[in-house]
């Protein structure tokens, strides 16, 4: 059952024009990467998310061409 969810979530990601190279992320399963599960040498997933500044769509792919230090964090 979960497999079917994963397949379709991946389809959604592609539908919105993303290059989804990390299948573990795109699979949308319960816990695709228990931290630290990001692999060196793999692309960071191109999720399109709302920007905190103005709510507009934003993706990490917009920062291509620059070296990025990405923090996944919370203010608490």
């Amino acid at each position: 059952m979960l497999g079917s969810v994963g397949m379709k979530t991946r389809a959604f990601v592609c539908l919105v024009g993303l290059a989804c190279a990390n299948t573990s992320v795109c699979a949308g399963t319960a816990n695709p990467f228990p931290s630290p599960g990001f692999e060196i040498g793999k692309p960071f997933p191109d999720l399109i998310l709302p920007s905190l500044a103005d709510g507009r769509p934003i993706s990490l792919s917009q920062f291509r061409g620059q070296k990025v230090l990405l923090h996944i964090f919370a203010s608490w």
């Binding site: 969810v5 024009g17 319960a30 769509p57």
Partner: protein, 404 residues
Amino acid sequence: MHVPGWHKATEKLQAEGKLQMVGIIQEQHPDRARLFMQWKKMGWPILIDSLDLLGVSVVPITLALDEYGIIRLVNPPLKDSGRLEDDFLNRSFEKPAGFPAAKVIRPDLARLKTGAKRGNAGDWLAYADALIMWGEPGRISEAIAAYGEALRLAPEHASTYFRLGVAYRKRYDSSDRQDGDFQNAVEHWSRALEIDPNNYIWRRRIQQYGPRLDKPYPFYDWVPVAREEIQARGETPMALTVEPGGAEFAKPLKIFESAATDTKEPDPSGRVIRDTGKFISVDRTVVPPVVSQGASARVHLIFRPNSKNKAHWNNEAEDLVLCIRPPNGWLVDRRHVTIPNPKTPVSQEPREIQFELRCPQDAAPGAVTIPAYALYYVCEDVNGTCLYRRKDLRLQVQVRKPSG
């Protein structure tokens, strides 16, 4: 702190254009992160992932991404930030073959809806996620229904429960709020965690509103400090849509602090006339929704004047008082709670009370009723009357069946 520490350590590199800082947050109320960024003078872009579509189970995580978006370092040590230059900034990386350029566009909701109607769990999930992230504020109910469809087709998909919980809490914070939305949020987060108990992000979402014994540290105790410091700089602090309070400020506890039992009840024989819902309605949420024997839970009560009758608080009389009368063996941290009236003669604001209770070790599994009542002065504009009323609350708490 971790992120401000990184910001400070790399300020020069950022100013020289050698390094771009970016953040992703999973918080239910993202504007709190905006206030945090203002406080710490960090102006770089942040992506909101309240649904945790990225699927991270812990934070913080720091990643160094090269010019092509390839992960080059995972959690580099802040105390040795010089290594970032040696191992990352001063290195050149090869462009990967066939790496497509991404288009950053807002998803087409109508197209996703058509896709969802094909009847696949993943399509319903994608549609619900898009409604939460990109839909108009009035479409949260539609998203809740879509998550429901996804769960009907894939009932063990933990992340869907978590996302549905996020949607319920979002509706609770909106003008479309329905009875039980907050309790539904907590129950769905709890269900997600039952399926996957190792997800720290999901656990933190429940702890945010839960009992003090379950907390590793306070959540938003920094907010008043931040506002004060921002104002002292001559700036206006970013507004918050939902003020943090109660459980979100409460410091952790090591042992349950039980209230004294010899306090005098304000209406012991129940003589005050009851308000059966005409004036004030009460929204109740118990966190966690099922409490284990010997464990504690936090109860959230919101008293709301009934807008249909144009009911309002009479602030020139006595304060609202809540009296909790736990059954034998159950402990509460407060037996009487008072909410001081604001200074205006009348008002219509919701009033919130939170208290904690502790389940006895030998409690029988199943539903337990915790009797409580509130006393308040309330007026209604329809007939122009002001009255002293009592609201009886029979709070339901579920005791978990012991495992094994």
